[in-house]
């Protein structure tokens, strides 16, 4: 087999690959990560590279403009290697795996909402919760009576007996590993040991036995595993204190930006394995950094709680997710038993436990359950709606008497995918925008105050609302029929320039096209109509909703007036809207700290009725009516002129 050398710049990484391999697979092998929203199908046009030297064979693609063709630009996923190559990777094709900027992190974690029944008087980092403090793993110091001829029960039973005396625990188990070393360990430690007890559903396991008193060192991790972002927190389980929070991109992004593409990818050769490794690597990276920064021993971290959508949990556990996308859309497991974290590739104490917040259905996962737990809507008298705006927007409606949820496939537009200059909310993303209606001058701020590279979801909401207010687009999203400095006709249709190339950190103008507006319109219509159908399905009315919780990393930056202006959110009194930030992470942390919260999460997941939108005969009509700014039925948006 002929092999060629492919060198990637500016990384200056060289890899040898077989002839006919795609540039994308060469890049992956070289550890150079490219944007591929479509998972390498040649559809999304995000993996453009410049071939500086060498021979390639490509497939024609509408994603490459004539000018780009002249610049020797190719789609890495459909272009194959036919000689030694030198490849330049433009900045917009790269995936930024650096940590989120401090500013973004602050925004993303802002407003983490917890129930407030004070348990401990505390500083700002101490968690307040209604649930009894009884973490997933506890450490207790034991002084065992030395065996005598009169008291001659075995070492293990002696240990159990003492645990029962101290904790009142009935059913216990432990692994062979612990039993093998027990005899010597107890005697060396002079019968003074610390045991780590882990809760495995209804039984208690002695996870770890250590000499001496180490009961103060008891830590746990909680994670929100999002399709795009993974957030993790290190928690001192004794003190109920968050030691640190980190968020980073889900490394699975290279295999596609939405769950469906990833499920399809899982079918490719070793696809499931790669997806599993990507998510566990991402989590381990966060865990490692938190553990190192806080100078704790990895063996003192004995439990992890994860909340994620159903597909993410399947992939974390290396469970084939394919039935999720096949009729009748049944997942392999919603309620996953507590397992050993090592089985899922998570590096904490080798005997540490991993618990997943239970999910409801294929498209309403544990992250939603966790959000319901954290928002507390399940125990309120008043009706509330919880909405997680994402690729797969989940909506929960209810109160203490009932909970009903649906999922709206909104598409990734608000997450910056499938739109021409979209990007995730990382450094350089335009996030707040205002437009002068007279001269169309655009004022904007970017995440991290970096030079603009693209537009993230909150930026798009502002842009749409401002363009509507300035009359740049009509209510159906069509641009004004004039041409000027900002509005122009491009190869692929009409577009509006947000930032000219000289002010950007990219080689092209940052624009919004009529096609982008169409995609965003569809996304907002999907979310709004799903919410409206859910409310109507329960024979309720928006006016009866007392609180409207908006969750998701994206939700924390949204300008509510603008989100209403474009018809993404219903036109309710603005003080009914509450941003709760990453409610999935907040719920996971409550579960980590209390088995009561875990039981409540189980209850919630069982209590939530899943409502399948596609079976509602009115859905398509409702969706069609929402394909307008703000809505075809203007009486639903009385505050919008």
């Amino acid at each position: 087999m002929t092999k060629f050398k492919v060198t990637f710049y500016p990384d200056n990484k060289t890899i040898e690959v077989e002839k006919d391999k795609t540039i994308l697979s060469a890049a992956l092998s070289a550890g150079v990560l490219l944007n591929t929203s479509c998972g390498g199908d040649g559809v999304c046009g995000r993996c453009k590279v410049i071939v500086k030297k060498g021979k390639v064979i490509t497939q024609p693609s509408g994603a490459i403009t004539l000018e780009e063709k002249r610049q020797q630009m190719y789609l890495a996923c459909v272009t194959t290697v036919h000689s030694d190559l030198e490849i330049e990777i433009p900045v917009q094709s790269r995936i930024d795996f650096e940590k989120l900027s401090p500013q973004e992190l602050a925004l993303r974690l802002k407003g983490l909402y917890s129930d407030s029944e004070d348990v401990i008087e505390s500083g700002q980092d101490i968690i307040e919760g209604v649930f009894k403090h009884s973490p997933l793993s506890t450490k207790i110091y034991l002084e065992l009576a030395e065996p005598t001829l009169d008291d001659s029960i075995s070492d293990l039973e002696r240990l159990y007996r003492q645990v029962r005396r101290v904790q009142g625990v009935a059913t216990m188990q432990t692994g062979l590993y612990n039993i093998r070393q027990l005899g010597e360990l107890l005697r060396d430690a002079d019968w003074k040991v610390t045991v780590t007890l882990g809760k495995r559903n209804d039984t208690v396991e002695i996870v770890l036995i250590e000499p001496g008193n180490t009961s103060q060192n008891n830590f746990g991790l909680c994670f929100d595993i999002g399709t795009t972002t993974i957030s993790g927190q290190l928690v001192d389980l004794n003190q109920k204190k968050v030691l640190g929070t980190k968020a980073t991109y889900n490394k699975q992004a290279v295999f596609g930006s939405d769950v469906i593409t990833r499920i399809i990818y899982a079918h490719q050769e070793s696809g499931l394995e790669k997806l599993h490794n990507a998510v566990s690597d991402t989590m381990n990276q966060i865990a490692k950094e938190l553990i190192n920064e806080h100078k704790i021993d990895i063996n003192d971290v004995a439990c992890v709680v994860c909340a994620g959508n159903t597909t993410m949990i399947h992939l974390l556990l290396s469970v084939d997710p394919s039935y999720i996308r096949r009729h009748p859309y049944v997942p392999t497991a919603n309620f996953v038993p507590v397992i050993r974290a090592a089985e899922a590739g998570i590096k904490i104490n080798p005997r540490g436990l991993l618990s997943c917040v239970p999910g409801v259905s294929s498209y309403v996962g544990g992250d939603t359950t966790s959000g319901v737990l954290a928002s507390g809507i399940y125990k309120q008298d008043d009706l509330s709606i919880l909405i997680d705006i994402g690729t797969n927007g989940e909506i929960v409606l209810g109160n203490k008497d009932f909970l009903v949820a649906c999922a709206a496939s909104a598409g990734p537009a608000f997450e910056g995918s499938g739109v021409s200059c979209g990007m995730r909310s990382s450094a350089g993303a335009i996030q707040k925008v205002s437009i002068n209606p007279k001269d169309y001058k655009v004022n904007y701020t970017t995440i991290g105050d970096a030079r603009p590279r693209g537009i993230c979801g909150s930026g798009y909401i502002d842009i749409l609302a401002e363009m509507l207010k300035a009359g740049i687009i009509d209510k159906s999203g069509k641009l004004r029929p004039e041409n000027n400095k900002h509005i122009r006709q491009a190869d692929s249709g009409r577009e509006f320039v947000i930032v000219f190339k000289e002010d950007t950190d990219s080689s092209a103008d940052i624009v919004i096209t009529e096609t982008d507006i169409e995609n965003l319109k569809r996304a907002k219509a999907a979310i709004f109509s799903a919410t409206a159908i859910l409310v109507r399905h329960m024979e309720l009315d928006f006016s009866l909703i007392k609180k409207f919780y908006i969750a998701g990393g994206f939700g924390t930056y949204v300008n509510i007036d603008n989100a209403v202006q474009i018809g993404l959110l219903p036109d309710l009194e603005r003080n009914k809207f509450l941003f709760i930030g990453n409610s999935s992470l907040a719920g996971a942390r409550q579960v980590l700290l209390s088995d009561e919260a875990m039981k409540k999460a189980d209850d919630i997941a069982r209590k939530i009725t899943y409502f399948e939108l596609s079976v509602d005969p009115g859905y398509m009509d409702e969706y069609g009516a929402a394909l307008f700014f703000p809505h075809t039925d203007l009486t639903r948006f009385p505050s919008i002129k």
Partner: protein, 323 residues
């Protein structure tokens, strides 16, 4: 004991659109045609007033018709070869109160007449006939957006009904209609949401809702008639419930849809069991029109003189009960 009628009270009504302008109104038409204005569902006179009866417009082309079945052409006679004679015959012989002229000759595939020539045709036609005009484009979007503005200008102040504006392309036409004082046809693809959205978009540009006539797009009998019917019914119910943005009168292109169906076109020789085509096509046009009148059609554009005669009679008999 007399039957007690259940009377529905409606909040809204259909707007009234006036087509044509007389001398007093700045135009040159001998009559005007008013459509719409319903305060309830059609022909329920006990319940609500129906001030204007449904009106039929004869369809006339600016060129001899190209794809019309022989039977239809025969019924009109040799006048179809001269658009002006054809228009005049509709008025004098068939007593048409309004004409619908289709600028088919401007279509790139049917002669590709220039916009100027088309405008000239309209000027001349206005001199030949004195009834109000409906002017519709050739169906080629790009060409129509050149042709229709000039036709609007040629018919300035005559308060024509001009179409069609569609969601993807309405701004040019709305601009022309606004400038020259006409009404507009807003066409949507059998979709109540788009019908409504288009009305909002057009009125956002400053054309008042009573100058919009909705073309809901219809299908002939056997070709989606019931679908069109239900969309019209839904829109009308919404309008009567108070939604002004769908409260415009309906125009239905009955002739165009009927005379391309297999049933109207195929000869008896090919399908002996179907009977003579001379009656079949006419019956098809009548039935389609009659159903749409029940759905709330205000203006019907038709082709066959006999079908027009029968449907006019039918409208007359329906209106009788209002007396």
């Amino acid at each position: 004991m007399a039957t007690q009628l259940m009377i529905e009270k409606w909040l809204g009504n259909v707007s009234t659109t006036t087509i044509g302008a007389t001398k007093a109104e700045g135009g040159t038409r001998a009559n005007v045609v008013k459509i719409g204005g319903e305060q309830g569902l059609p022909f329920l006179f006990q319940e609500a007033a129906m001030p204007n009866k449904p009106v039929i417009a004869f369809e006339v082309w600016d060129i001899p018709p190209v794809d019309w079945p022989d039977e239809l052409v025969k019924s009109l006679g040799s006048v179809v070869n001269d658009p002006f004679a054809w228009a005049e015959k509709c008025v004098s012989e068939y007593k048409a109160k309004i004409l619908c002229v289709r600028m088919q000759g401007a279509h790139p595939d049917f002669g590709n007449k220039s916009a100027d020539d088309s405008a000239k045709f309209i000027s001349q036609l206005l001199k030949k006939v004195s009834v109000p005009l409906i002017i519709v484009g050739s169906g080629d979007d790009q060409k129509d957006s050149q042709v229709l503005p000039l036709c609007c200008e040629a018919a300035k102040s005559e308060r024509c009904l001009v179409g069609s504006a569609v969601q993807e392309n309405y701004k040019t036409l709305v601009g022309a209609v606004l400038a020259d004082g006409h009404n507009i046809i807003a066409e949507s693809p059998i979709d109540i949401n788009i019908a409504k959205q288009l009305n909002i978009l057009i009125s956002d540009m400053g054309l008042s809702l009573d100058r919009i006539v909705i073309n809901p797009t219809i299908g002939a009998l056997g070709y989606g008639l019931e679908y069109a019917y239900s969309i019209m019914e839904r829109a009308r119910l919404a309008a009567l419930a108070g939604d002004k943005t769908v409260g415009s009168p309906f125009i239905c292109f009955v002739g165009q849809e009927t005379w391309r169906t297999k049933e109207a076109m195929i000869s008896q020789k090919e399908f002996p069991a179907w009977g003579p085509e001379a009656q079949r096509g006419v019956a098809w046009e009548i039935v389609t029109a009659a159903a749409l009148i029940q759905a709330g059609a205000d203006l019907l554009v038709m082709r066959h003189p006999k079908a027009v005669e029968k449907v006019n009679k039918y409208i007359g008999s329906l209106m009788e009960s209002s007396l």
